[in-house]
C-alpha cells in the first residue's frame, strides 16, 4: 500500500484506535507535520497507526485536510469571519466532544491551519466573559476537586514509594546472597540449622 512517493495519487492507510483502517491521500496527509517528520521520507510499511484517536475523529480531521489540499499555503491564523461556508459548516456540524477530539488529534498531527482555527473558535467562546463566566466555560476544577485529586495523587505516590522500597530491599537481599562465597553460605546455613536444632532439643 504505502510508499514514500510525492504524487497526490498515492493513498496511505491509517489505523484508528478501534483497529479499523481507511485511506487518506498523500496530499492531505502531507498537511500533517507529524506525518511529514515520521513517514514521508522513510515510508510506512503497512497501515500508519494513529491509535490514540478514534476513526470518526481521524476521518473528520482528514476530511478537512482533503478539502484544504488546494488552498494556498497556510500563512498564519485567519479570522473566523473570513472562513468559507464549507469551513463554517465543517465546524458547526461537530458536537463539543468531537470538536475537542479534533483539536487534540489536529494538535498531535500538527496540522497548523486546523489547530489554529479550532483554537480561535475557543477564544471566541470566551469573548466578553468575566472571571466567573470564563471558569464555567473552561470548566476549571473547584478547590474541593483539586484537593481530592491531590489526595489521590499523594496516596498513589505513597503506594509507589512503598513498592519501590520493597523492591529495593529484595534486591539488596538477593545481592547479599549472591555476593557470599559458596563456602561461607554453607557455613551460615549450617550455623542456622545447629541453632535451630539446639533450641528444639532444649525445649
Amino acid at each position: 500500500m504505502t510508499s514514500p512517493a510525492s504524487s497526490s495519487e498515492v493513498k496511505y492507510l491509517i489505523e484508528s484506535s478501534e483497529g479499523n483502517t481507511f485511506d487518506v491521500s498523500g496530499a492531505a496527509l502531507r498537511q500533517s507535520n507529524t506525518f511529514n517528520a515520521m513517514f514521508l521520507n522513510i515510508g510506512a510499511d503497512g497501515p500508519i497507526p494513529f491509535t490514540d484517536y478514534n476513526e470518526a475523529t481521524l476521518k473528520k480531521v482528514f476530511e478537512y485536510c482533503e478539502h484544504s489540499v488546494n488552498e494556498e499555503n497556510y500563512s498564519g491564523p485567519k479570522h473566523q469571519d473570513d472562513l468559507s461556508k464549507w469551513d463554517l459548516n465543517f465546524f458547526n456540524e461537530m458536537d463539543q466532544k468531537m470538536f475537542i477530539d479534533v483539536i487534540n488529534a489536529s494538535n498531535f498531527l500538527d496540522i497548523e491551519r486546523l489547530t489554529s482555527y479550532c483554537c480561535e473558535r475557543i477564544a471566541r467562546m470566551l469573548r466578553g466573559k468575566n472571571t466567573q463566566e470564563m471558569i464555567k466555560v473552561i470548566t476549571l476544577p473547584t478547590a474541593e476537586e483539586l484537593e481530592a485529586k491531590q489526595k489521590v495523587e499523594e496516596k498513589k505516590a505513597a503506594a509507589a514509594k512503598k513498592v519501590a522500597e520493597k523492591a529495593a530491599e529484595t534486591a539488596e537481599k538477593t545481592e547479599t546472597l549472591e555476593e557470599l562465597p559458596v563456602q561461607q553460605l554453607v557455613q551460615t546455613t549450617r550455623n542456622k540449622l545447629t541453632r535451630k536444632y539446639l533450641s528444639f532439643s532444649n525445649e
Binding site: P77, N107, S116, C119, R127, G128, T131, Q132, M134
Partner: protein, 345 residues
C-alpha cells in the same frame, strides 16, 4: 461535554491564548494559578503601555498599532464595597485581593477590563504592576501618568519607565528628587503643578532630556539656566532678561547648552510683566532674519511633548545667532511675554 482548557496540551492552550484579545487574556489569568501559569508561558507581547494613576483609579493603556493613540485595556477602580455575588479573590503576589472583574463593551468588541477593588494603595499598585509585568512581555519602555501621591516617592511601582507626567498637589523639590531617583532613565518629564524649593546642581531633574513644566514660576527660570537637556517647555515662568542673555551668550561661546534643541518659555499672562527685548539681546552678536537663508516657521517639539506648535521665527524681535565652535545657527524670538529659541539642524 465540558471544555476543559487545562486538559489540552500546552501548545493548544498557548494557541487559544494567543488568539484572545488582551482583555480576555488578562481575565483568563485571573481564573486560577494554573491558567495564570499558562498565560505567562504563552509569552504575549504588548506594545508601549501607559499607566495612568489617579487617587482612586488606575488605568493601563496600550498603544494602538496604527499610531500614537492609546487604548485602555484594564481600568482599576476603588469602590467602597463590592457585590458579594460577583466578588472574586484575585491572587496578586502572595496576597489575595477581593475584586469584582467585568468586561466593558459587548461580546464582539470587548473594550476594557474593569477591576473594582476596595483599596488602591501602595501594596496593591506594586503587586499589580508586578502581576502585569509577569504576564505580558513589554516590547518598549513604559509611559507613566501619575496624579502625584506621597507613596509614589517611596516605592518604585513601575519598571522601565521613560516618560512621566505628574499632576496633583504642589511638589516639593525633595519629593521630586526622591521620585526621580526611582525612575532614573527618563526621556520626558511633564509636571503640571508648581514646584517648591531650590534647584541645586545635583537635582535629578537636570538629568532629564526633555522637560515640560505647566506651572513653572521662578523655579522654571532657575531650571532653564542650569538645563543640560534637549527640549524645554515652560509655561507661566518668571523670565529674567539678564539670565536669558547669559544663556544665549553661553550657547554662542559653547560654554553650555551643548545638547539644546529648543526652548519655549511663556510668562504668566496675568503677571502684567513684559519682556524687555533689548535687554535679552544686549551686546550679543545677532543677525536679522534672512528668508533666503532659512525657513520662517518651525514645527515645535511635536514628537517629544506630543503636541504641535507652528512657530514663526521672523519679525522685529527675531534674530539669529551663530555658535563660534561649529557655525551652528540658532533663531531666537523674544516678544511680549514669550521667549523662544530653536537650534537649526
Amino acid at each position: 461535554m465540558p471544555l476543559k482548557f487545562l486538559s489540552f496540551p500546552f501548545l493548544v492552550q498557548e494557541n487559544i491564548l494567543k488568539n484572545m484579545e488582551l482583555v480576555e487574556f488578562f481575565i483568563m489569568s485571573t481564573c486560577s494559578k494554573r491558567t495564570k501559569q499558562s498565560a505567562i508561558l504563552a509569552r504575549i507581547e504588548v506594545p508601549k503601555i501607559r499607566h495612568v494613576v489617579k487617587e482612586n483609579e488606575h488605568s493601563i493603556m496600550i498603544r494602538r498599532e496604527e499610531g500614537e493613540k492609546f487604548k485602555t485595556i484594564i481600568k482599576i477602580l476603588e469602590v467602597s464595597r463590592l457585590r458579594l455575588s460577583r466578588m472574586w479573590r484575585m491572587s496578586i503576589g502572595n496576597s489575595e485581593f477581593p475584586t469584582e472583574i467585568s468586561v466593558q463593551g459587548n461580546s464582539s468588541n470587548a473594550e476594557y477590563c474593569l477591576l473594582k477593588v476596595t483599596q488602591i494603595d501602595e501594596t496593591f499598585l506594586v503587586g499589580f504592576s508586578l502581576y502585569f509585568n509577569t504576564l505580558f512581555r513589554l516590547k518598549e519602555s513604559t509611559k507613566l501618568k501619575l496624579e502625584f501621591i506621597k507613596s509614589a516617592v517611596r516605592t518604585p511601582m513601575f519598571e522601565n519607565v521613560n516618560e512621566v507626567s505628574l499632576s496633583g498637589e504642589t511638589l516639593t523639590m525633595d519629593d521630586l528628587d526622591s521620585f526621580l531617583t526611582l525612575y532614573p532613565n527618563l526621556d520626558v518629564l511633564k509636571i503640571k503643578q508648581s514646584i517648591d524649593g531650590e534647584l541645586n546642581e545635583t537635582s535629578r531633574i537636570l538629568v532629564v532630556k526633555n522637560v515640560c513644566l505647566s506651572n513653572a514660576g521662578p523655579f522654571g527660570m532657575n531650571l532653564l539656566t542650569k538645563f543640560t537637556g534637549q527640549n524645554i517647555y515652560l509655561n507661566k515662568v518668571d523670565l529674567v532678561e539678564a539670565d536669558l542673555n547669559e544663556i544665549i551668550r553661553k550657547w554662542i561661546n559653547s560654554e553650555g547648552y551643548q545638547n539644546l534643541v529648543s526652548v519655549h518659555a511663556l510668562m504668566d499672562i496675568h503677571s502684567g510683566r513684559r519682556i524687555q527685548t533689548d535687554q535679552v539681546f544686549d551686546q550679543l552678536p545677532i543677525e536679522r532674519f534672512n528668508p533666503t537663508e532659512r525657513q520662517e516657521h518651525v514645527r515645535y517639539t511635536t514628537r517629544v511633548f506630543r503636541f504641535t506648535l507652528d512657530i514663526g521665527f521672523h519679525g522685529d524681535n527675531c534674530y539669529d545667532v551663530i555658535r563660534k565652535s561649529d557655525g551652528k545657527k540658532a533663531s531666537i524670538r523674544a516678544d511680549f511675554r514669550f521667549f523662544r529659541m530653536v537650534i537649526w539642524n
